[in-house]
Subunit: 499 residues, 2 copies
């Protein structure tokens, strides 16, 4: 894998200086075109051997191009806010927007290779990390990102010479690497695990480029040319003709029976039972939230449902059991400009709670496979791949201790009609009913189908859907609270099992 990067590539100064001006001008032009088009971001990952010119190359790229359109991020030390969130959160919060470039030093690859070299885990865990990185990159590419992965390489003798040289350089000595490169063993391990990582994550949509780092002219020209060619190619592609679905289209059940048909919509609770059970479940939730064991967790509660199914009322009954300093309610509406300049899941990642916190999403990332699917706001390819992206996303949350609970509040069409009509009569509820609501109602069958597919494809062991029969509001609210409580207790029980 690294063979051709140990043969002593070099370019002489004259050749370098002859080629450079045209290269720089073309890069700059491509960069402005990127900004002008504003169609996709560029993400550049920098990895490799200590002393192979990583820092120098990034510095050079900033000189060659317009640094106002480039963000350089280092991810070596994690802040305490980052430590309180799932590991990928820190990368999401620093993704470059469409039209811009982000250079990621110390990215997910450096992290996994370092941890493996330090012996924090063994190969199976390394492979999991590799798998996760690939899914992340696949998603970013599907969202349009252009990803470059550079591995700066040196053979062991080359590295030793280089480090000796750098020792004397005061400009370099202040940098602290998390690995002790003076040890011969470090190099061997780093290259071994690096090779494993490169082999498994070099894909058509985001290949690795291994650059021999000994000669500055050579490595700089190589990186410049690679960037330029791929960037120009990407800029010339026709602005996304609606792409073909990656997955086979979904086929409705032949007997047209749907998951939602299996609900017993007559379930209801008498007022006195309701009051009693509500109070019990609220007290239970309140207690669980004050439990020490909750310090290791957080809750993400997703509320989806038919219009007028009572999401707001259910959310308020949940909120009433919580300390206001502990929870946040995130209402999801149409995305803002900043949000449109990022991958679909970005705006939800931003809102993921830190440990000890409780976040309610009033509508959520499932908009993609519900309203966006039904209204045609995105292509079938987009919403079809969303199922997998969402499962990945939720799995990452769960792995980090987030308890994910998802509700679909279901009512039947007659109940909805009654509620719409009632709302139109009460002055301060009129805000709650819009023309959109009536239009959505006309698409009942399409939504019904979308809900069925959504539950089938995204109800996972770690983040199951709960269908809530919501013709009776009392019944629905108690079921929501009880489900939440059960989920939190289950998470506590799992902790105990793990020790």
């Amino acid at each position: 894998m690294f063979e051709s990067a140990e043969i002593g590539h070099s370019i002489d100064k004259d050749h370098y200086e002859a080629e450079l001006p045209a290269l720089r001008e073309a890069l700059l032009e491509a960069q402005y075109e990127l900004k002008q088009q504003g169609r996709f971001p560029v993400i550049i990952l920098i990895n490799g051997i200590e002393g192979a010119g990583k820092g120098e190359t990034v510095k050079l790229l900033n000189e060659w191009m317009d640094p106002r359109l480039i963000e350089v991020r280092t991810f070596d030390q994690q802040s305490d806010e980052e430590l309180a969130h799932p590991p990928a959160w820190r990368y999401w919060r620093h993704l470059p927007a469409k039209g811009r470039m982000g250079i990621f030093f110390g990215n997910w690859y450096s992290q996994m290779i370092q941890d493996r070299v330090h012996g924090l885990f063994k190969d199976p865990r390394l492979d999991q990390a590799i798998e996760a990185a690939q899914r992340l990159e696949q998603m970013l590419c599907d969202e349009g990102a252009l990803i470059f992965k550079f591995w700066f390489h040196l053979s062991k003798p080359q590295m030793k010479r280089r480090l000796k040289h750098l020792e004397k350089d005061p400009l370099h000595s202040w940098r602290i690497s998390p690995l002790d490169w003076q040890q011969s063993k470090t190099y061997d391990k780093f290259v071994r695990y690096g090779e494993r990582v490169l082999r498994r994550t070099s894909r058509d949509f985001a290949p690795w480029y291994v650059i021999e780092g000994v000669d500055p002219h050579y490595r700089s020209l190589m990186v410049g040319r690679i960037l330029l060619e791929s960037l120009q190619a990407a800029l010339e592609e026709k602005p996304a003709t609606p792409s073909q679905a990656h997955a086979a289209p979904l086929i409705a059940a032949a007997d047209s029976r749907n998951l939602l048909d299996s609900l017993d919509m007559t379930q209801a609770l008498e007022k006195t039972d309701y009051k009693e059970q509500l109070a019990t479940e609220q007290a239970r939730l309140s207690g669980l939230m004050r439990d020490k064991r909750f310090h290791r967790h957080s809750v993400v509660a997703v509320f989806e449902g038919n219009d007028a199914a009572g999401k707001g009322g259910a959310i308020r009954r949940v909120a009433a059991a919580l300390d206001p300093r502990q929870y946040t309610i995130v209402p999801i509406a149409a995305p803002s400009q900043d949000e449109l300049a990022q991958p679909y899941l970005w705006r939800f990642w931003r809102q993921i709670p830190g440990r000890g916190q409780f976040t309610v999403f009033d509508r959520s990332w499932y908009g993609r496979v519900l309203v966006e699917r039904v209204e045609g706001f995105c292509t079938p390819a987009d919403w079809l791949r969303a199922y997998g992206e969402i499962n990945d996303f939720e799995e990452q949350l769960c792995d980090a201790g987030v308890i994910v609970v998802k509700f679909w509040l279901a009512i039947d069409p007659d109940t909805q009609l009654e509620r719409f009509q009632a709302r139109e009569k009460i002055p301060f509820k009129r805000y709650k009913i819009t023309d959109d609501d009536w239009r959505n109602r006309d698409k009942w069958p399409q939504y019904r189908e979308a809900v069925g597919d959504m539950v089938d494809r995204t109800s996972s062991e770690f983040a199951p859907w709960t269908l809530v029969e919501a013709n009776d509001k009392h019944f629905a609210r108690v079921k929501v609270l009880r489900t939440l409580n059960d989920a939190i207790e289950k998470a506590f029980a799992r902790d105990k099992k793990k020790g």
Copy 2:
């Protein structure tokens, strides 16, 4: 100040329950109207004596109103990211957007009172903090915010009874207050300093409401009524008829001579001198940035100037001296929707560097007193008050160790014309010249006046303006770098003096 809040106010249960439904409904309606109008945010500050019902009241407000439109923030412990920024940064990052409500627990007032009670500083510093709070609130109000400040009060005997009662309550015991309220002295001090704070910060635009906290019915109804009445009044105000200027209009000098006329625009640097001096200053900057003393500081470098004055080129020469992992360049364009829903300075606060970092603003908050003034994008009242707001903002940065360096790159009209024409000929520079640039050129005299006023009113000892004669690009770049270096060295020297 607290006399009427120690007389044992109370409301009986029947009265409370009779009034409540109408109050809740009206509050909810006002809240939806707030969202609908989207004209201003509501900020509610919660302060006062331990045990006086602060937490309970906030919980209640969340029950009464739609919690999806309310954000509750606690500011007790600072995260390490917050500690690396100026103190106000944490408040700015959590301001509610227009149309929403933010409840701030443990806000700037709790901080300053606690620090004073703990003896971290004496009255002069307390007064500075009070003054700063007032300026912040004034600015928020000028930007349209509706601010409520509630002080929940108990007399000392009332408090002692209450704490005894709470001790037995498991729902309360887990909360940790940073003050030891069991001590009689704590109460006395807290009330004494609280009184000082309330007296000085109760202003027409943001008055304090002192609420006796003994009786839950009384305190809840009071808070509800106060919120409702002020909110309704604010919602009924006519959407901002362009308000009158707060300050007298600016008058141009009678001899029409302007600061910019005093520049010697013929200054220039020969190519060899330029190369030598540039290299020297870049090396100097590079060294200063690696200096240990820089760990206590950060740099904010502001670049403003005529179109085509060479801001981009100067910024690139600065960037070339820095480690790409240490700096960020923030290009400022028209604000996004999210940014428009916040006070003017919000989007700049977001980008303020943490300690050890260097941020370049390519255009900046001065847009308000330049392009927005000249083009009439805001009212004279808005840009006239901006001078003071900006001075406050920069003073806060400097107090926190940020080195603020501001450049106006000046060229004369002939030089600009030459550069515009040259740009139109070079393909990859065509992006840099737009119709706007030609239009701005027609407004040369207005911009000239605006620049003069800007420098006069915002060049401060802690953040002076540097006018850069930029007809000769070489001269300008070296002057920029030298000024930056001098400013950083000056900051180091001040540290030494302070010890």
